[in-house]
């Protein structure tokens, strides 16, 4: 059985405005099994988001291969869900129209799309808010809309780019628990990018550590904590603390390297 996601020897370079070449990722190998929940952690600017852009097909790899279920990615792949870091719900559409967008784009009738959307809006706990516009919602509610918008398409792969980083701590752990609940009823593989190691461990089955730029996989750790989990409490378990300490040793070095570089470029 092929891996859900496989990156082999992937390098990604960008042209800088000054005309130079910036290497965001170098020789990166990574594999995610079907139905697996993976977290990717690493210092700021190490190419975590770039990895997601490559998997989704939004950006092509400069070198190497990116495959989804054994098929090479060329252009936007189907069966993908993507929850962005910034607000990406459409401000001129109501909650209902936002969630119904995916099915409509895939050719469902208006009526059918709305029916599906109502169901998903209820599942993310927003029943009664169908006719609101995004500006009338709180940050957490907008994230729920974004989740429903992605999950309604029934993605086999769900990519999440620091989706909860802008939320306050309480809302955040609520949303994390809801995400786990929603995910457990699907068979999607998840790649969850975050800079927060605690969040990474409490959510995932496996944690990838990426080095400071140019990013490559430094190590990966299996998180063998039982499910279902309560994100708000799991961090007090002794096993959690053990895993945390183990991964943190790895991550700390990279964070320091990245920090030193930033200080230097800031001074220059």
């Amino acid at each position: 059985m092929p891996q859900a996601i496989e990156l082999r020897g992937v390098t990604k370079q960008f042209l800088t405005p000054a005309g130079g070449v910036y290497t965001a990722l170098r020789d990166l190998d990574m594999a995610v099994q079907p139905g697996e929940f993976c977290a990717v952690v690493g210092p700021t600017g190490c190419g975590k988001s770039t990895t997601l852009a490559l998997i989704s097909g939004l950006e092509p790899a400069t070198e190497g291969e990116v495959e989804l279920f054994g098929k090479p990615v060329a252009g936007i792949a189907s069966g993908i869900g993507y929850v962005f870091q910034a607000d990406a719900v459409f401000p001129w559409k109501t909650v209902l129209e936002n969630v119904a967008a995916g099915p409509r784009y895939h050719g469902a009738s208006n009526q059918d799309a709305r029916l599906q959307a109502r169901d998903w809006i209820a599942r993310v706990g927003l029943a009664g808010f169908e006719d609101r516009y995004p500006y009338q919602l709180s940050g957490g509610m907008r994230k729920r809309v974004a989740l429903a918008q992605s999950l309604i398409n029934g993605p086999r792969v769900l990519l999440m780019d620091e989706p909860f980083s802008a939320l306050d701590v309480q809302t955040r752990s609520l949303m994390e628990n809801e995400l786990l609940g929603l995910w457990s009823s699907t068979s999607a593989s998840v790649v969850f990018v975050t800079h927060d190691l605690e969040e990474a461990i409490s959510l995932s089955d496996r944690v990838f550590v990426i080095t400071a730029a140019p990013g490559t996989i430094k190590s990966n750790y299996v998180v063998d904590l039982p499910r279902p989990r309560n994100v708000a409490e799991i961090r007090f378990q002794p096993r959690f603390v053990e895993i945390y300490e183990e991964i943190w040793k790895d991550l700390r070095d990279e964070v320091l390297v990245s920090y030193e570089r930033q200080k230097r470029s800031g001074a220059a």
């Binding site: 719900v89 459409f90 001129w92 967008a101 398409n153």
Partner: protein
């Protein structure tokens, strides 16, 4: 807190003690806010009226006293008489209403044609980088020439009827709307585009559901300015040669050295502009319901 306001509150309480006891303080505050807002509105209206009285009064007075030559500058009472004469007796071009209607038709026609072309071409060039790179210099050159002179060309090529005025108005409107639509289409949030593409939107859907709505707030902002320009275009078109319209009315008044007629025409144009402004604001509120209402005190 001043003694007086404390006393006022005390007398309030004394006036209806039962009500004051049960009513929550918060509604007290809201009521005071509303009272303040109403008072402010009344002040603004009163000051507006005062400004008009001072302006028109000093104009009337200085022309009556002979400090300012009323042959050139007319005077408010004469202008009012002129408008009244036009309303009751008709103008030398026919009934006044027909002239106003003609100019409004030309303005609205030019506005709609220019705005639609501006939106379509602006969004097209905003979406297609090759097209915009190729046509960019031409658009900039065309924008740099004073386009009202095209009114003369249109008067020759399209004749003296409504078509040449619509063309003049449309060309003025086009560029303003075009540049806004172009910029709006260029500055769509990249996240929104990426999100729509991931959700499965094709290129057509991307344009109609993401780019155009996003550009709409830019476009709408330009519609206020461009309606004024449409009016300019219509009137300038009439000055180049016409058989009806408020611009033509002003032109014939000028030919007769009738300053009151010129001013009367100007006031009519101002009235048309105010009505149109209200209509555009209504359209704006309808089109961008999804945006939080921004209440600005300085709105004019």
């Amino acid at each position: 807190m001043s003694v007086r306001s404390a006393a006022a509150r005390l007398s309030d309480t004394v006036a209806s003690p039962a009500e004051a006891a049960t009513r929550p303080r918060i509604s007290d505050l809201a009521a005071r806010r509303m009272r303040d807002a109403r008072r402010r509105r009344i002040t603004v209206q009163a000051l507006r009226l005062l400004a008009a009285v001072v302006w028109l009064g000093s104009w009337e007075l200085t022309t009556r006293l002979g400090w300012v030559d009323k042959f050139f500058f007319s005077q408010p009472s004469e202008i009012v008489q002129k408008i009244w004469y036009w309303i009751t007796q008709g103008t030398e071009l026919g009934p006044l209403w027909d002239q106003v209607l003609t100019t409004m038709e030309e303005t609205a026609g030019g506005f709609v044609v220019g705005a639609l072309l501006g939106i379509v071409i602006g969004v097209a060039l905003g979406r297609n980088h090759l097209l915009s790179d190729v046509l960019g210099p031409y658009v900039k050159a065309a924008n740099a020439i004073p386009r009202v002179v095209l009114g003369a060309l249109f008067a020759i090529s399209l004749g003296l009827d409504i078509k040449s005025k619509i063309a003049t108005a449309a060309i003025l409107v086009f560029f303003v709307v075009f540049f806004n639509a172009f910029q709006g289409a260029r500055e769509v949030d990249r996240n929104l585009i990426a999100n729509a593409r991931i959700l499965g939107a094709d290129n057509r859907r991307l344009t109609t559901e993401i780019v155009v709505p996003s550009a709409l707030s830019w476009i709408i902002a330009s519609l206020h300015t461009s309606f004024g320009l449409a009016l300019v275009g219509a009137v300038v078109g009439e000055l180049f040669g016409a058989t009806a319209g408020v611009g033509e009315l002003i032109y014939s008044a000028e030919q007769n050295f009738d300053a009151a007629g010129v001013f009367a025409g100007m006031f009519l144009l101002a009235a048309i502009a105010l009505v149109a402004e209200a209509l555009i604001t209504a359209l704006e509120n309808r089109l961008i319901r999804w945006r939080p209402q921004v209440i600005t005190e300085t709105r004019i």
